[in-house]
């Protein structure tokens, strides 16, 4: 049933954007931002259940929690940068959007360094 609510919010937002975009384009972009925010805050609640499931099974499987935290952080960073980059592209500024995406890729690599070092150490130990 939630999907119906989300679809309705999206359609209403698009209609309002079209009416306002002709003479006040900046309000059109603001309405699309607000519609995106409403839909995502609505869904974040559901996402919490998925994350709890992941944590439960990673504890059960004995995987150390540290890597799961890094993975969750990376998905959070990726999502926020995607959110910003898409808004920039909607407004027609695709160069700023790609800058945001490049910055987020660099941040993700920096955050993922512990995982990369762990994998490389494992490979080196196998080779020796």
């Amino acid at each position: 049933m939630d999907i119906v609510k989300i679809a309705i919010i999206g359609i209403i937002a698009v209609i309002l954007i079209l009416t306002i975009k002709k003479d006040r384009p900046e309000f059109g972009i603001i309405i699309s931002i607000v519609a995106g925010i409403i839909i995502i805050t609505f869904i974040l609640g559901k996402l919490a259940a998925v994350i709890k499931l992941l944590e439960m099974y990673s504890n059960k499987a004995g995987i150390s929690n540290q890597y799961l935290i890094i993975l969750l952080k990376i998905t959070g960073i990726a999502y926020i940068s995607e959110f910003a980059a898409q808004i920039c592209r909607d407004a027609g500024e695709s160069s700023i959007g790609s800058k945001v995406e490049i910055a987020s890729k660099i941040i993700i690599v920096v955050v993922g360094i512990p995982i990369i070092t762990a994998v490389l150490d494992l490979i080196i130990s196998l080779i020796k």
Partner: protein, 64 residues
Amino acid sequence: MEIDLIFRIAAIGILVSVLNAVLKKSDREEQAMMTTLAGLIVVLMMVVKEIAKLFDAVKTMFNF
């Protein structure tokens, strides 16, 4: 909270554009610009609060 926020922003947008048209007809160009800026600032204040709330939710969700 959800849908009425969109309607509020759309209403302010329509109001500003109507005011603009009226002010332009009565050749008060600078006041038209003033109302546009005022409307934009009001809407931006609302949107910034919403974005802050979203980013806080994402931060707590993905335990930054």
